[in-house]
């Protein structure tokens, strides 16, 4: 191993007063960071805190505006990812950059700076993957692999460069608890070899469990450096958001009403080769209830949302029931007119058009259900006065912080835009609300606000379906929990009866469910 012997207080990587300006906006503002050899160092922060920008500068993707980076005590300028790899920095991105049609070995070969025969790469990859407990078949096609396996390719790819420092960006956001445990084993092995790991996450318990030190960012500045094991999740969260996070008071309603949203043996073929087919999904959401669907990303959540919302209607009308009516073949606006509201996962370019102002984005989702208020005349004129007033009302109700009266949706932070998008539906008092990843990439303050709003909506007698990958969120809001895996949905269990371990097993698809015996 080339990891050289270094003295106790030496650092692999030091960053001094690192600043990155985008125009006049400081994404990173005078950051100091020290990473020692053989430590797992956490980088904590909300979305938009500057974590990604910092990491991109360390990996040579962005050039810093000012400040210095020291590598083993030497000032360096990292001009490109290739230069970073040459120094000994490896990176595993949150969003994988893999060619699905190619094999594992071919994907690895593409990322290497040196040209090596494919067979040799395959052998090396196979050897490394076993040494670090990351079983991987180098000849498998990426398209056939699970998300966890794809992540292993990225990790092996980074390890092949024999790095001194490995940066992992939100590595567990796509993993089941079991897969995450396996990843941690690998990280401990790397640490034992004297390599360093920069671990980016916003999952506090994980950070407490595996990290030796933590640096907390907020609004582009370092707000704390600590030993996470000495802290509580609450104190870490305080450093991240700068204030106590309001606790969501759980759903806990006992009065369950009639079934408002139901899927009866809902199946849908995959629309693209890489999409997931829905297989015989059955679910019921009653008035006053929050049904949460847990699952690892890419197991059919998006497809389930599409079928329930009517963005892609299904073949058989009977398979989706909204307030007792068969709506499987109806479009999204018909379902909205029946009192349903929908919040998709992706904010930009799905739930909202980034370039258009908030008022236009209100029209986007509500012009049909609120056509009496928002449209006039046979030409379909948009009543901008009424729309702007409603947009303003939503911003006040949901505490949406924005610059200007009616700014473009893209200028809002993720959390504030999400508050607007959720508020846009709540403003109608929908009797059924379907939400996919309600707080994905949203800061803690906005997340707790959104979760509370979902719980309150259910309490007021609506049926709420939440699709989420975040177990904390699920336990916070759900009255019933089901798990989706490879397009199949488990039975729903009362939230109190489930543990994280059980959900983890269900996520892996290991549930003992007999076909046809669905709980109705």
């Amino acid at each position: 191993m080339p990891v050289s012997g270094v003295s106790a207080d030496a650092t692999v990587l030091s960053v001094r007063q690192l600043t990155k300006l985008f125009g006049s906006f400081a994404a990173c503002n005078g950051i100091d960071l020290d990473i020692k050899p053989g430590e797992i160092h956490a980088l904590l922060g909300e979305n938009g805190a500057g974590k990604s920008t910092l990491v991109k500068m360390l990996f040579g993707v962005l050039a810093p505006t000012s400040g210095t980076i020291l590598w083993n005590g030497q000032t360096v300028r990292i001009a490109s990812p290739a230069a970073a790899r040459k120094l000994g920095i490896g990176m595993v991105f949150q969003h994988f950059s893999l060619f699905e049609a190619l094999t594992v070995a071919e994907n690895i070969a593409l990322s290497l700076d040196d040209k090596l025969p494919l067979a040799q790469i395959a052998a090396r990859a196979s050897e490394l993957s076993h040494a670090y407990g990351l079983p991987l078949d180098p000849h498998a096609h990426v398209a056939d692999l699970s998300v966890g396996e794809r992540q292993r390719i990225e990790i092996v790819r980074a390890l092949l460069q024999n790095p001194q420092l490995i940066i992992l960006d939100e590595p567990t956001s796509v993993l089941t608890p079991q897969e995450a445990d396996r990843l941690f084993e690998t990280l401990f092995k790397l640490r034992a070899e004297g390599r360093s790991v920069l671990y980016i996450s916003h999952r506090l318990e994980e950070v407490q469990r595996i990290c030796d030190r933590a640096t907390v960012l907020r609004h582009g500045k370092v707000t704390g450096a600590c030993d996470p094991r000495q802290e509580t999740p609450a104190s870490l969260a305080r450093m991240m958001v700068g204030a106590e996070v309001a606790h969501v008071s759980a759903a806990g309603t006992t009065t369950r009403g009639e079934v408002l949203l139901e899927a009866r043996h809902l199946s849908a073929a995959a629309r693209t080769p890489f999409a997931v087919a829905l297989k015989n999904v059955c679910l019921k959401v009653r008035a006053g209830e929050v049904l949460a669907i847990a699952g690892v990303a890419g197991n059919g959540q998006g497809e389930l949302f599409d079928a329930l919302s009517g963005e892609y209607p299904v073949e058989e009308a009977q398979t989706v029931q909204l307030r007792g009516k068969a709506v499987g073949r109806s479009g999204i606006n018909d379902r909205r007119s029946m009192g349903a509201g929908f919040v998709p996962e992706e904010r930009h370019g799905h739930a909202a058009v980034s370039a258009l102002p908030l008022s236009d984005n209100l029209v986007l989702a509500r012009y049909w259900s609120d056509r009496k208020a928002f449209l006039s005349g046979p030409l379909g004129l948009i009543r901008s006065g009424a729309v702007k007033a409603a947009a303003k009302r939503i911003c006040v109700e949901m505490d949406v912080r924005k610059s200007g009266e009616d700014p473009a949706a893209g200028s809002l932070s993720g959390g504030n835009l999400q508050k607007f998008i959720v508020g846009r539906e709540l403003d109608r008092q929908p009797s059924v609300l379907v939400v996919n990843q309600p707080t994905w990439g949203v800061d803690a303050g906005a997340a707790s606000r959104i979760r509370q709003a979902l719980v309150d909506l259910a309490k007021s007698g609506s049926a709420v379906l939440v699709i989420s990958q975040d177990l904390d969120e699920i336990f916070e809001v759900a009255s019933e929990i089901a798990v989706i895996s490879e397009g199949r949905l488990s039975d729903a269990y009362p939230a109190g009866e489930l543990t994280r371990e059980k959900i983890g097993l269900l996520m892996g698809g290991l549930y003992g469910k007999t076909e046809g015996a669905h709980a109705h």
Binding site: D113, R336, E346, G349, A351, D360, I382
Partner: protein
């Protein structure tokens, strides 16, 4: 050293308005260099091209004649391009509209009724719309690239017109020239004033621009166009139909191109012949972009490009230059507009950091 394109935090409104003006200036400067290289006095050449046509009443009329089809087609294309339907075949739709609009005056040349002209205009629009429906159908149903299909259909339409005027529709008393009968007086688009040739076409063009501007600015349909252009997925979330928009935008632009075609034939040429357009359908693509895909901007841009046609005629007569000079100017203009637009969205930075030393 490397060149980086960095996205501006907020594309400025000012840049977006200035960019066509800067593009025009750059075109003029480059044009001056071009003329100097051709051995002409650049100042005089530019004067002949761009100022001369504006100094006489008759040539102002000609400007209206040349700009009307450009504006009509450009307005339709601006709708298409706003929602990412890349109709490149307006020239073919123009020809198709000219043919269908001419059915009455060619086949019923003896019918004298005030209904003739309105029917011709409507049939011209229908013909253009139906011809644009072919690439719309192919895109909506079979996912075929509309850039290719609409472009290739231009040649089909032109050759069909050629065959018609040489074959079944040729004027029997036409001394074997490939032309149809002269239209009856009721089939001629009236001129506006006695002082020149400007006809009703320019009025239609401005009305079309105003109507489309109103639609884009105030109605749900305009909103739908903007949303589907910005993000198809958001459009689906809103319940808008992507396929419906393909049909709507292609047929709207086809109808306006067809109107331009029948106006040109009925108002300027008064009969069908193998060549009826000096490439209005293609030049209108430049008009749409120079006009910022905004119908009101298209009016201004249409006048500017109409001027290049007139100036080209002047350049032939006074300077003895080929009329290809016009095409060169139009090409440079589109190039500079697109370049300036890119710079309005991105900032160019020279990064002085040395490139990574590769192993």
């Amino acid at each position: 050293m490397r060149i980086e394109l960095e996205k501006r935090a907020r594309p400025s409104q000012l840049h977006s308005l200035l960019s066509p003006i800067i593009a025009l200036l750059l075109t003029l400067v480059t044009g001056a260099i071009l003329f100097a290289a051709l051995g002409q006095d650049p100042v005089r050449a530019l004067y002949v091209l761009f100022i001369g046509p504006l100094t006489e009443v008759w040539s102002l009329h000609e400007l209206a004649v040349k700009s009307a089809p450009l504006i009509m087609i450009g307005v339709g294309l601006s709708v298409c391009y706003r929602c990412n339907n890349w109709n490149i075949g307006a020239e073919g739709q123009l020809v198709a509209g000219a043919i269908t609009g001419s059915i009455i005056p060619v086949l019923f040349n003896d019918w004298h009724s005030p209904l003739v002209l309105p029917l011709m205009l409507v049939m011209g629009m229908v013909g253009g719309a139906l011809y644009a429906a072919i690439p719309a159908f192919l895109k909506a149903q079979t996912n075929t690239n509309e850039i290719l299909t609409s472009l290739m259909l231009v040649y089909v339409a032109e050759l069909f017109l050629d065959w018609l005027v040489r074959g079944p529709w040729r004027d029997p008393q036409g001394f074997n020239f490939p032309v149809t009968k002269q239209f009856q007086p009721e089939g001629i688009l009236p001129e506006l004033l006695d002082s020149g040739r400007a006809n009703l076409g320019i009025v239609f063009a401005i009305l079309a621009a105003l109507a489309v501007w109103f639609m884009m600015r105030f109605t749900l349909k305009g909103f739908e166009i903007k949303v589907l252009g910005a993000s198809e997925r958001a459009g689906r979330f809103a319940g808008f139909s992507r396929k419906g928009m393909i049909w709507f935008s292609m047929m709207l632009s086809g109808a306006l191109a067809g109107l331009a075609g029948i106006c040109e034939v009925s108002g300027v040429i008064n009969k069908l012949q193998p060549e009826i357009s000096p490439g209005y359908g293609f030049t209108a693509i430049i008009v749409a972009f120079l006009g910022r895909l905004n119908p009101l901007g298209v009016i201004v841009a249409g006048l500017v490009l109409g001027l290049t046609y007139l100036g080209g005629e002047g350049a032939q007569i006074e300077l003895g230059l080929s009329d290809k000079v016009v095409r060169v100017f139009q090409g440079m203009l589109l190039f500079f507009v697109l370049a300036c637009d890119t710079l309005a969205i991105y900032r160019v930075r020279l990064s002085l950091a040395p490139a990574a030393k590769e192993a």
